[in-house]
């Protein structure tokens, strides 16, 4: 049953990763924060870590999302002097700061998460079959 738990932890982790990617893509054009201040969205990334609490005594371990970190990439500036959220003064006067999120990178990341999810589903199927086949000993 440990294999099932380990695979489930991976499924949960990959799901969180996909949620994060969804958030990044959804906020590709968010130039303001939730208070309405001009503050472009920064891409977020999940950090996976070994989870020893899931697994068995022999050393097999599950995975967990340790934290979700925020990129510190410079925003993209677009010249929109009439925009209400345009920067008023300084080097970027008249520019609006947009999130620096690369759609291709995010899509590739999403594909990778999907493939990882499928791989773990495959492992679950195998461990499930192993358990069911083992019951055949008694039959």
């Amino acid at each position: 049953m440990n294999a099932l738990d380990i695979s489930t932890s991976a499924l949960v982790a990959q799901r969180v990763r996909l949620d994060t990617i969804s958030g990044n893509l959804a906020n590709m054009s968010s130039i303001a924060d939730e208070n309405g201040e001009a503050n472009p969205y920064q891409a977020r990334q999940v950090v996976f870590a070994v989870d020893e609490s899931v697994g068995d005594r022999n050393g097999a371990a599950g995975v967990q999302v340790r934290e979700i970190v925020t990129d510190d990439a410079d925003p993209l500036y677009r010249y929109q002097p009439d925009h209400p959220l345009a920067i008023r003064d300084g080097q970027w006067k008249g520019y609006v700061a947009y999130p620096n999120i690369d759609m291709s990178t995010q899509m590739v990341d999403a594909l990778e998460a999907t493939r990882a999810y499928e791989a773990n589903l495959g492992v679950m199927e195998i461990s499930k079959n192993m358990s069911q086949e083992t019951l055949g000993i008694l039959a």
């Binding site: 049953m1 489930t8 499924l11 949960v12 799901r15 499930k128 358990s131 069911q132 000993i137």
Partner: protein, 138 residues
């Protein structure tokens, strides 16, 4: 039968003398079985302390803490029941729109299913052995 014994961690009876069926030489090969079944069926007819002797044909280590087969089966049953209740609760939460992980819920259901199947197979084996015993002619 040896399958059930090894699963339950129960040692075979120490001697044929403990079984009533030894009087009939035709069924000598079946003779150890009734004593074993008595042991499986209930603690009321359990063997005396000699049962914990190291004589164990299958080489399965018998822990002194291991209860009777009834206790083990009962424990397994309640474990399986608990897993199924947990899975039911998780499914209910998922269906009523609570924030639960789909993968975790479905894994709980699958684990409960596997546990139930295992329990069912052991029960089938036990009933099969019981039927075999009933057909023994003395």
């Amino acid at each position: 039968m040896s399958g059930i014994r090894s699963i339950a961690g129960i040692s075979p009876p120490p001697s044929l003398a403990a079984t009533p069926a030894t009087s009939n030489s035709d069924h000598r090969t079946d003779a150890p079985v009734p004593a074993t079944l008595r042991h499986l069926v209930g603690p009321a007819t359990s063997h005396p302390a000699t049962e914990t002797s190291p004589a164990n044909a299958a080489g399965v280590p018998v822990s002194p803490a291991a209860g009777s087969f009834t206790e083990i089966l009962g424990g397994t049953l309640s474990d399986v029941n608990q897993m199924q209740s947990g899975a039911d609760l998780a499914v209910q939460k998922m269906l009523t729109g609570e924030q639960v992980s789909q993968a975790e819920v479905l894994t709980a259901v699958q684990k409960a299913d596997l546990a139930f199947r295992t329990m069912l197979q052991i029960r089938n084996k036990l009933v099969e052995a019981y039927r075999d015993l009933q057909q023994i002619q003395i």
